[in-house]
C-alpha cells in the first residue's frame, strides 16, 4: 500500500500536493494529544472524502492502529468514505424544521434529483444529506447548500434554489 502510494505520488502532482498539505497539518499538531479527529477533519477538507489510502497514511503518521482510525471515521456522521458531489445539499430534519414541514422539502429534493440521503447524483453534481439541526431554528425549515444556509424553505423554492448550483 505504502509503496503503491509513493509511486502514485510521483506521477500525480495534484495528489502530491494534497498529501503535502496533510503532512503540514499533522506536523503542526505534532505532540498534541488525541488529535486524530482534528486530522481527519483536515483530511476530509483536502481530499473531499476519506479513502483507504488516506486512512492508512494517517494511521502511520500518527502511530495509531488502522482499526482505530477506521473505527473513528465510521462512528461520526461528518466523515464520508465515498466521494461527494460538487455541491452538498443538507436538508435539516431537526425538530423545529420537522414540525414546520421540512419532510415535504426533503421529499421534493429526493424526487427532483432522484437520489436519497447519503447518495450522490450520477453526474456528480449533488450529494444529498440529512442533518439534525443546524441551529437556525428561527427560520425553519432550513436547507444548507455547501456553506450557504437558506431559511423558510418550501418545496417550490428549493427547486429554484437547486438550479443555481451548477
Amino acid at each position: 500500500m505504502q509503496i503503491n502510494l509513493e509511486e502514485r505520488l510521483k506521477e500525480n502532482p495534484v495528489l502530491r500536493k494534497q498529501f503535502d498539505e496533510l503532512d503540514a497539518y499533522i506536523d503542526e499538531k505534532a505532540g498534541q494529544q488525541g488529535s486524530l479527529i482534528n486530522v481527519m477533519h483536515r483530511a476530509q477538507e483536502i481530499f473531499g472524502y476519506l479513502p483507504d489510502e488516506v486512512l492508512a497514511y494517517v494511521s502511520t503518521r500518527l502511530q495509531v492502529p488502522r482499526s482505530t482510525v477506521y473505527g473513528v471515521v465510521t462512528f461520526y456522521h461528518f466523515f464520508s468514505r465515498t466521494p461527494k458531489g460538487r455541491h452538498t445539499i443538507s436538508v435539516c430534519l431537526g425538530t423545529a424544521c420537522y414540525v414546520r414541514g421540512s419532510n415535504s422539502v426533503y421529499d421534493k429534493v429526493t424526487k427532483s434529483l432522484g437520489i436519497k440521503a447519503g447518495e450522490t447524483s450520477p453526474d456528480g453534481r449533488y450529494t444529498l444529506d440529512l442533518v439534525r439541526c443546524v441551529g437556525a431554528c428561527g427560520l425553519a425549515p432550513v436547507v444548507v447548500i455547501d456553506k450557504d444556509t437558506y431559511g423558510r424553505m418550501t418545496p417550490d423554492k428549493v427547486v429554484t434554489l437547486l438550479n443555481k448550483y451548477v
Binding site: I37, T95, V99, R132, C137
Partner: protein, 594 residues
C-alpha cells in the same frame, strides 16, 4: 469623529436572512453620502428576534429596524443618518395596535426578558475584546485571582447555579469535587456540543460573546488547579469555531490566557476540539472520549469526570451557558444571582423558541417564568390563529408540557414532575396540526439513529419501540401496543448506560400520558386526528364542490383520479398513494382530506 453606530445582527439566522448583503448596501450608502468616517458599522452576535431579521439598530437613539433587505436598507442612511428622519416603514409594528415601536424597549419580546447570559449578545462586536472589557469583561477573572480558589468555589456554591446543559446538577459541587480530587494534571472542559435539535442558545453565546466562556474557563482552571482547557464545539457551527479562535488569540495577546495570567503566576490555555456529528457526544463521558480522538462512546458513572475524566485525570466539565453565568456571579456576588429565579433554581434560563410560534428566536427569562408568558407574551402566540397544543422541552430526551400547565412556573424541578426535563432549553411549540404520535416517533427515530450501540437496552430497545410506533402510525397498531411501549420504555430508562438511553423513551411515554386519545384514535379508529400520518389519510372529492376542471386528474402521478370534463371527479382509493398533489392543486376546496 463617530456620531452614530449601526449595529447589525450577525447571528446565524440573520446571516441566513441576508445580513451580509444588507451590510454591503449600508457601507456603499455611507460612502455615497460621504459620511463613512462619521458612522461606525458593528456586526454583533444574535439579538434574539430571529424572525425579524436582518436587524439593524442605530445608536445613540437605539432605533430598531427589522426585516431589512438590500432593497430597503438605503433609507437608513439617506433618511435617518443624513436627514434625521426615522424610516417608519422598517420599524416593528405592534401586534395589538397600529403603532410602531421605535426601540427595543417598546417591544414586549424584549421588555419581558432579563439578559444575564446574553448580556453582550447583540450589544458588542464579538470579535472585539476591547468591547467585552468595556462591559466589565475579565473583571470577574481579576476578582477571582484576588479572592483565591476556595472563595471562588464558595461563591459559586452559594449562588445555587445549576448546570444549564440539562440535568441541573449544582455547579458548585462539581467544581469542589474537581478541586478536591487528587491527580494531576487536571482539565477544564466546555461542552459546546449542542446536539438537541431545536436548541441554539450555546451557539449564540459562542458566536455572540465568546470571551464570556473563555473568561469563565480561566476562572474554573484557577479554582480547580488546571492548566489546560478544551472547548468542544460541534462541527455544524463553523461560525462559532471561527469567532472562538479569534477570541482566543485576542485573549492571549491581552494576557488573559497563557503564562502568568495578569501577573498572578497562574498559567492556563485553551484548545478548541471540533465534534464530528455524533449526538451522543453531548453526554459528558462520551464527549471526553471524543476529545481524546476516540469513538464517542459513554462509560458508566462513577467514576465521575471530576475523579477520572480526560485521559483518566480529574476533569471539570460544564456547558456553555453555565460558564457564561460565572463571570457576573463573581463580580456581583451570589446574592445578586439569587435575586431572580426560584429558590431551588436561581438565575435565568435561555430558551430557544421555535416551531409554531409567532416570534421565533432566543429569549432569556428568570427561572420560574410560566409557559404562557414565554409562548404568548414573549412569543406572540401561535401563527394563523391555531390552537396551542403543547411545548416539547429537552429535545429527544424530554417530553411535552400541555396547555393545562401553561401557568406552571418552569424550573428544573417542576418540569421533572411532568415527566420531561429542562434540557438545554430548546422549546418547540406545537399546534393543533401536529400529531403527537408522529412527533414522538420522530424523536425516537432520532435516538435510534444516534444510539452509539454500546449497551443493549438503548440499541435494541429503542428500535423495538420505533417499530411499534411505526406500526401505529401505519394504521396497523393493536390495543396492547401501548402497554408494550410503556414496559419497554421503563426497562430502557432503568437499564441504559448513559443519559441518551435513559431518557430516550421520554417523548413516547410523555405523549402516551398526556394524549392517550390520540394513540387510541390511531389504533382503534385508524385515524390521525391531526391529519399528519400519511397512511391514515384518505383523499376524496366533494362532488358538490368539484367543477370538473381536471386539474387534479392531470396532477395525479398514479392516475387515480378519473372523471369527465365539467363533471365531478372520483379518486380510486386502491390506486391513491396519498401524495396530496390533488389537495394542493385544487382551487375549489373540492378535495377532502381526512
Amino acid at each position: 469623529m463617530i456620531r452614530n453606530q449601526l449595529l447589525i445582527c450577525a447571528g446565524g439566522a440573520c446571516i441566513t436572512s441576508g445580513e451580509k448583503s444588507v451590510k454591503d448596501v449600508l457601507v456603499e450608502e455611507l460612502a455615497k453620502n460621504g459620511i463613512q468616517d462619521e458612522v461606525q458599522i458593528i456586526e454583533t452576535g444574535c439579538m434574539g428576534a430571529c424572525d425579524l431579521g436582518p436587524i439593524v439598530v442605530v445608536y445613540p437613539e437605539g432605533t430598531f429596524y427589522q426585516k431589512v433587505t438590500p432593497q430597503n436598507a438605503g433609507p437608513i442612511v439617506s433618511e435617518h443618518l443624513v436627514k434625521g428622519r426615522v424610516v417608519s416603514g422598517l420599524l416593528y409594528r405592534q401586534p395589538t395596535s397600529e403603532t410602531r415601536a421605535q426601540t427595543r424597549e417598546e417591544i414586549s419580546f424584549y421588555t419581558l426578558q432579563v439578559k444575564r447570559v446574553l448580556r453582550n449578545c447583540g450589544v458588542i462586536d464579538p470579535l472585539s475584546i476591547e468591547e467585552y472589557i468595556a462591559r466589565d469583561g475579565y473583571f470577574g477573572l481579576g476578582k477571582a485571582l484576588e479572592i483565591g480558589p476556595d472563595a471562588i468555589i464558595q461563591t459559586i456554591q452559594e449562588s445555587g447555579l445549576r448546570g444549564r446543559g440539562g440535568a441541573g446538577f449544582p455547579t458548585g459541587i462539581k467544581w469542589k469535587a474537581a478541586r478536591d480530587a487528587s491527580g494531576s494534571p487536571k482539565y477544564v472542559v466546555c461542552n459546546g456540543d449542542e446536539g438537541d435539535p431545536g436548541a441554539f442558545m450555546d451557539r449564540s453565546v459562542l458566536e455572540g460573546d465568546p470571551h464570556s466562556v473563555i473568561e469563565a474557563m480561566v476562572i474554573a482552571g484557577f479554582a480547580i488547579g488546571a492548566a489546560t482547557g478544551y472547548v468542544y464545539v460541534r462541527a455544524e457551527y463553523p461560525l462559532a469555531i471561527e469567532r472562538l479562535e479569534v477570541a482566543l488569540t485576542r485573549a492571549r495577546e491581552y494576557g488573559f490566557l497563557g503564562r502568568n495570567i495578569l501577573g498572578s503566576g497562574f498559567d492556563f490555555d485553551i484548545e478548541i476540539r471540533i465534534g464530528a456529528g455524533a449526538f451522543v457526544c453531548g453526554e459528558e463521558t462520551a464527549l471526553l472520549r471524543s476529545i481524546e480522538g476516540k469513538r464517542g462512546m459513554p462509560s458508566a458513572k462513577p467514576p465521575f469526570p471530576a475523579q477520572a475524566g480526560l485521559w483518566g485525570k480529574p476533569t471539570l466539565i460544564n456547558n456553555v451557558e453555565t460558564y457564561a453565568n460565572v463571570p457576573p456571579i463573581l463580580i456581583n456576588g451570589a446574592e445578586w444571582f439569587r435575586s431572580v429565579g426560584t429558590a431551588k433554581s436561581p438565575g435565568t434560563k435561555v430558551f430557544a423558541l421555535a416551531g409554531k410560534v409567532q416570534n421565533t428566536g432566543l429569549v432569556e427569562v428568570p427561572m420560574g417564568t410560566t409557559l404562557r408568558e414565554l409562548v404568548f407574551d414573549i412569543g406572540g402566540g401561535i401563527p394563523g390563529g391555531k390552537a396551542f397544543k403543547g411545548a416539547q422541552t429537552g429535545g429527544p430526551s424530554g417530553g411535552i408540557i400541555t396547555a393545562d400547565y401553561l401557568d406552571m412556573p418552569i424550573d428544573f424541578d417542576s418540569v421533572k414532575e411532568l415527566g420531561t426535563i429542562m434540557g438545554s432549553g430548546g422549546l418547540i411549540i406545537l399546534d393543533e396540526d401536529n400529531c403527537m404520535v408522529d412527533v414522538a416517533k420522530f424523536y425516537l427515530a432520532f435516538t435510534v439513529d444516534e444510539s452509539c450501540g454500546k449497551c443493549t437496552p438503548c440499541r435494541e430497545g429503542t428500535k423495538q419501540m420505533y417499530q411499534i410506533m411505526e406500526r401505529i402510525t401505519d394504521g396497523k397498531g393493536t390495543p396492547n401496543d401501548i402497554g408494550k411501549l410503556k414496559t419497554l420504555g421503563r426497562v430502557i430508562q432503568q437499564t441504559s448506560l448513559c443519559g441518551l438511553g435513559q431518557s430516550a423513551p421520554n417523548p413516547v411515554l410523555s405523549t402516551i400520558r398526556f394524549f392517550p386519545d390520540e394513540y387510541r384514535a390511531h389504533i382503534e379508529d385508524r385515524k390521525c386526528p391531526a391529519h399528519a400520518c400519511l397512511h391514515l389519510l384518505t383523499y376524496s372529492v366533494v362532488s358538490e364542490k368539484c367543477v370538473g376542471c381536471t386539474a387534479c386528474a392531470r396532477q395525479c402521478p398514479v392516475q387515480a383520479i378519473t372523471g369527465q370534463v365539467k363533471k365531478a371527479h372520483v379518486i380510486d382509493q386502491a390506486t391513491c398513494i396519498k401524495c396530496g398533489s390533488c389537495y394542493e392543486v385544487c382551487r375549489f376546496d373540492a378535495i377532502l382530506k381526512e
